[in-house]
Amino acid sequence: MSRVIIVDDAAEAVADTPDGAVVLIGGFGSAGQPVELIEGLIESGAKDLTVVSNNAGNGDHGLAALIREGRVRRMICSFPRQSDSWCFDEKYRAGELELELVPQGNLAERIRAAGAGIGAFFTPTGYGTPLAEGKETREIDGRGHVLEYALAGDLALVAAHRADELGNLVYRKTARNFGPIMAAAATTTVVQVDEVVAVGSIDPEHVVTPCVYVDRVVPVTRTLAPTVAAGVAR
């Protein structure tokens, strides 16, 4: 009897999200974005959220819709501005949303550190730039480094490809992106998957996220992915 719970309804899986929660949301643009879970989060009514995600929403679905509905007080991300980030752009320009901009690798490493029990780390990325202003710096082996702190979530929403009934996960291609590190960095991790398979169906050598990091699994039939536009943004 593992502790993972398989929930059929995305809204039910995130219904207990409190106002003010820090929510880690996987995905790089649309790839790996847990759209159905985010729609469940909108249904939950939770507001004043801090959202940690690489981007700040694409088009009108998923994270973009959460922002449009005014649920996000603060975005921590590396690349908010994209050709289809109009929901974010509007809220940001209206001053209704704070932005903490973090270089993508520091964002990933801060999330990884939270899951790994590392309090903080010295990274060369960003040294000498405006994004390191006010931060502690140190020269290590002749190179400038910036001190960055772990970034943990109350809730992580992740899209994986397949889960077994214990919650072991595998991903598909570049949709893996932030999923494994976010799953490890949150108090509660909810994962949407294309399918749930029997225990033993995933080779132990191929598991990417061990079940210890997963609290709830929601099988979903993915809605049509937004059109992949050319040359948008990183």
Binding site: F28, G29, S30, A31, G32, N54, S78, F79, P80, R81, Q82, F88, D89, Y92, R93, L99, L101, V102, P103, Q104, G105, N106, A108, E109, I111, R112, T123, P124, T125, G126, Y127, G128, T129, P130, L131, G144, H161, Y171, R172, K173, T174, A175, R176, N177, F178, G179, P180, I181, V208, A225, V228, A229, A230, G231, V232, A233, R234
Partner: protein, 224 residues
């Protein structure tokens, strides 16, 4: 920054494809390379198929192939620009922390980036205009700039208003300090070396005319 518009018509050098071909020709066979979004992406079109150059994309893949044809488009397989791409034999996938570890740890031989400005000592500015109405976005630019063993910049030498983007000191917000090793432009290729900025190639411009355009001391390396 004062306007230093040139008195004559702007010179025309090589076009974007020819510039991409120049960069591609300088990438050793078997290199591990990250091509930034925009202009650098074009370099992939000029890498010899048998060069064995492996492309890294920071969203978690090594061994990236060309843009996907319509029937191949897979929403789970995109590049850093979120464009659908393909997978080559020998590819591998990994999560974001591992992907940036690969970059930051100095395992990529070369990354090629666009730029607003490059300074004479190799400082790079390419992520933010600094205009107050701009929404800032950095993505992986800072990690790439300092992570690869060599950072190549590709850009037009002159901005639209005719000012050189190779500058004594960057005035735009910085992406990284002393990280650029080469600057490929439509008019010249510059090597940022301990002795200074060396001009390696000229494209449709004389050396003396180039020095008049650029407010940085140059070393003529065209005859080397």
């Amino acid at each position: 920054m004062t306007t230093t518009s040139s008195t004559s018509a702007l010179p025309t050098g090589i076009d974007r494809d020819a510039l991409a071909r120049q960069v591609a020709a300088d990438i050793p066979a078997g290199s591990f390379v990250n091509l930034g979004i925009g202009l650098p992406t074009k370099v992939a079109n000029f890498l010899a198929p048998d060069s064995g150059v492996m492309l890294h994309t920071e969203n978690g893949m090594l061994g990236m192939g060309p843009e996907a044809r319509a029937e191949e488009v897979d929403p789970d397989l995109v590049n850093a620009g979120k464009v659908a791409v393909s997978e080559l034999p020998g590819a591998s996938y990994f999560h974001h922390a591992d992907s940036f570890a690969m970059m930051r740890g100095g395992h990529l031989d070369i990354c090629v980036l666009g730029a607003y400005q490059v300074s004479a000592r190799g400082d790079l500015a390419n992520w933010h205009t600094g205009r107050p109405d701009d929404i800032p976005a950095v993505g992986g630019a800072m990690d790439l700039a300092i992570g690869a063993r060599q950072t190549f910049v590709m850009m037009n030498l002159l901005s639209r208003d005719g000012r050189a983007k190779l500058v004594p000191e960057c005035t735009y917000p910085l992406t990284g300090l002393q990280c650029v090793s080469r600057v490929y432009t439509d008019l010249a290729v510059f090597l940022i070396e301990p002795e200074g900025v060396v001009v390696r190639d000229l494209f449709g411009i004389e050396y003396d005319d180039l020095t008049a355009l650029v407010d940085v001391p140059l070393v003529d390396g065209t005859g080397r």
